[in-house]
């Protein structure tokens, strides 16, 4: 029986809804999704509407901020004092370690000079705070309070004190969205600190687990091994902690060992994060020196690599 077509049914359903309109709207939605999937118009739209979007984020995060502020305000002096002491000890320890590292860095720089290597390990970072909103519990995204106006760029690695958290995937003028390494669509090239085995760590969709589905069976990966970024792929600089192997077992096909790891970063607890400035070592062969090219004022669009301006500068002066 056709439900809404008859006279009485219209009286009850008030004729507000017809299948044709449903189909039209569904079609529009599907077309929008396909277009967006291909072209990424949503980001453009969000960027345009950021004057509206960003305040809403701040507003949604407000109650949690207030709760946190209240908690700090009513925390007993005892607790604060002990926390302060702990932090001071941690700082002391870190300071001592840093001092020792300084000499190592200096030594390293000397050796590198000898080797004529051009990489530098200087760490230039930008501080950012989390805006505590939840975009979707099944996508691991965090919102940060810096954006395009603060010179953040898409692809910048996000770290905290303990390790790599993720990377920036979307920019609004004063807000940025970062994808965590545990997002199911995220993958990060890692290297086993102990044995040097290289593999890829995929997000699992659970905040405390990374999957390493394709480790060769013969590879030397053991429970407790630390995983560092390998620097391959050119997105994350090498040597940052990513996680710790928790379990190694055979996968279903028996061809690979499948390991799981626990992320090193406090993904669900960090309130402040650091954005690494772009300083990834370029992979592949070094870019050709274009000292023979046209004058510098014509070579506008290509951002010159750090070594390029020196040879081309004399040409532009006369």
């Amino acid at each position: 029986m056709a439900i809404a077509r008859t006279e009485t049914a219209t009286l009850f359903a008030e004729g507000a809804v017809s299948t044709l309109r449903l189909i039209v709207y569904l079609a529009i939605a599907v077309v929008l999704m396909v277009l967006d999937h291909r072209g990424g118009y949503l980001q453009l739209l969000r960027h345009t509407g950021s004057a509206l979007v960003e305040p809403v984020y701040r507003l949604a995060a407000f109650p949690a901020d207030v709760a946190r502020a209240t908690r700090t305000a009513v925390a007993t002096q005892d607790k604060l004092a002990s926390e302060n002491r702990e932090l001071r000890e941690a700082l002391l320890l870190a300071q001592a370690r840093l001092n020792r590292l300084d000499t190592v860095v200096a030594q390293n720089a000397r050796l590198k000079d000898l080797l004529d290597a051009q990489k530098n390990l200087g760490l230039s970072v930008q501080f950012a705070r989390l805006i505590d909103v939840d975009l979707d519990p099944f996508r691991h995204r965090i919102v940060l309070d810096v954006g395009a106006n603060q010179k953040v760029a898409v692809g910048q690695p996000v770290i905290d004190a303990h390790g790599v958290m993720g990377q920036i995937v979307e920019l609004l003028p004063n807000t940025a969205v970062a994808m965590l390494i545990t997002d199911p669509t995220h993958a990060i090239p890692v290297v086993d600190e102990r044995s040097g085995v290289r593999t890829i760590a995929y997000g699992s969709g659970a905040i405390d687990r990374l999957e390493l589905p394709n480790v060769p069976i013969s590879a030397d990966v053991k429970v407790g091994d630390k995983l560092l970024t390998s620097g391959l792929g050119g997105r994350f600089p090498a040597g940052f902690p990513v996680g710790e192997v928790r379990e190694v077992k055979n996968d279903q096909s028996g061809m690979f060992a499948a390991a799981t790891a626990r992320p090193a970063a406090a993904l669900d607890r960090s309130g402040e994060v650091l954005l690494l400035q772009d300083q990834v070592q370029p992979y592949g062969p070094p870019p050709p020196l274009d000292a023979m090219g046209p004058p510098a004022d014509l070579a506008g669009p290509a951002p010159a690599p750090a070594t390029a301006p020196a040879p081309s500068a004399p040409e532009s002066t006369p």
Partner: protein, 164 residues
């Protein structure tokens, strides 16, 4: 005059609060259990005020949601249009269900919504979410009586303050 304006404020306010609740952070453990607030509030208004909440409204509302939280433009629009269509179709029955039956119908609606969402995400090439994905509709069902009674109560209060 004043009454209709107050009703309008309630209408807009409840929808805005639904968005804020949707964005509101929760402890990590509770995060997968967050019900689809936007959907719940839209269902309420589709049942109570179908002359305002048509398919077109659901669509535009969903687009707004996509701009706020979305990954894919049109995803929430599609979900809300489907929700609104089913609710409007069965509105006559849904309205007069006792609360527990209504809540069960809500569970079916929200599960259907999850399936629609899974389809959309599957097509756009995302991984299958974990089993916790299916918890949210149940929580949504449990929340429905509260949402319904709260908004209903506010509405009757607004109406009651005026002489009839």
């Amino acid at each position: 005059m004043n009454r209709t304006r107050a009703q309008g404020w309630l209408f807009g306010g409840s929808l805005a609060i639904a968005f804020l609740l949707q964005l509101m952070p929760l402890p990590q453990l509770l995060l997968p259990m967050k019900p689809y607030w936007v959907g719940l509030v839209l269902i309420y208004w589709a049942i109570e005020m179908p002359e305002r909440v048509g398919l077109g409204f659901a669509f535009l509302f969903g687009l707004a949601g996509d701009i706020l939280t979305g990954e894919l433009l049109g995803e929430q629009a599609l979900r809300l249009v489907v929700l609104a269509f089913i609710v409007l179709r069965f509105r006559a029955r849904l309205r007069f269900f006792p609360m527990w039956q209504q809540a069960l119908a809500l569970l079916a609606l929200l599960l259907n919504d999850r399936i629609v969402m899974l389809m959309v995400r599957g097509f756009s090439g995302e991984a299958m979410p974990s089993a916790l994905y299916w918890v949210a509709p149940v929580i949504g069902m449990l929340m429905w009586p509260f949402v319904f009674l709260l908004i209903d109560d506010l509405r009757t209060r607004l109406r009651g303050s005026e002489p009839r």
